[in-house]
Symmetry: C2
Subunit: 143 residues, 2 copies
């Protein structure tokens, strides 16, 4: 079941607006990538997975552009980079306060809502330093 032409027009218009508000030119590539990324909430992608996905969808975007775009979106606050794996970088469409389960073997990230976990007792950082953010990663394995 495809999405209707009208839906696509609406989605595109919304996406273009979103990009403009972030100070990013709504190029074909950025609009296509953003449409994919923000169609559903709470997505976790790597540069490669996103590149594969958009290529599958029949849209031609270079891998370099996917990397550029992921970083630009991250800078613009549309994405958040999640560091859980030494081997690759994940990007999360949920930029709000929340944490993650991480299944290393499968390379799978699962959101934990922000209010769920409480971190108490974070010490005052050494002089001259300020807390930027507190990341919690719950590493899980097949039982």
């Amino acid at each position: 079941m495809g999405r209707s032409a009208r839906d696509d027009k609406t989605l595109t218009a919304l996406t273009v607006g979103r990009l403009r508000q972030s100070g990013l030119r709504p190029t074909r590539q950025r609009v296509e990538l953003a449409s994919l990324l923000f169609k559903d909430d709470d997505r976790h992608v790597t540069a490669e997975s996103l590149h594969d996905e958009i290529t599958e969808a029949g849209v031609k975007v270079s891998l370099a552009t996917v990397y550029n775009t992921l970083h630009q979106f991250t800078q613009a606050g549309l994405l958040r980079q999640v560091i859980v794996d030494a081997a690759r970088s994940y990007f999360d469409t949920n930029t709000g306060d929340h944490q993650h389960f991480f299944l290393e073997k499968e390379g799978l990230l699962i959101d934990i809502p922000g209010e769920t976990i409480a971190v108490a007792g974070v010490p005052t950082p050494p002089p001259g330093l300020a807390v930027d953010r507190v990341d919690v990663v719950v590493r899980v394995k097949r039982a």
Copy 2:
């Protein structure tokens, strides 16, 4: 002020025992690396920093061996790998329960003792999964 020959002998003997107990042959390279790593507590190294350090000390060990050794020590439970940076892997000589401050710009890790931080409300993992461990990274910046 150098350490005496007797101290070195003692340190070496201890290190050899430690390696044997972990099922690792006490080769020259492993003994030298372990001696450096475990001389002081709470060290954070990367493969390159450790390779530089041991090279400075006049000991010849290949970078490949440093990588191998770090992984073997990690498997043996003598080290713990800390994932905080997409660019490089850190290894921590403190394998006990504790967390970290991370200064991204400087690539600096600082321990937070285990009892300091309390994480409450970690949800039950999805079916078939079990919590392996909970990592907390307090990302800090120059104020």
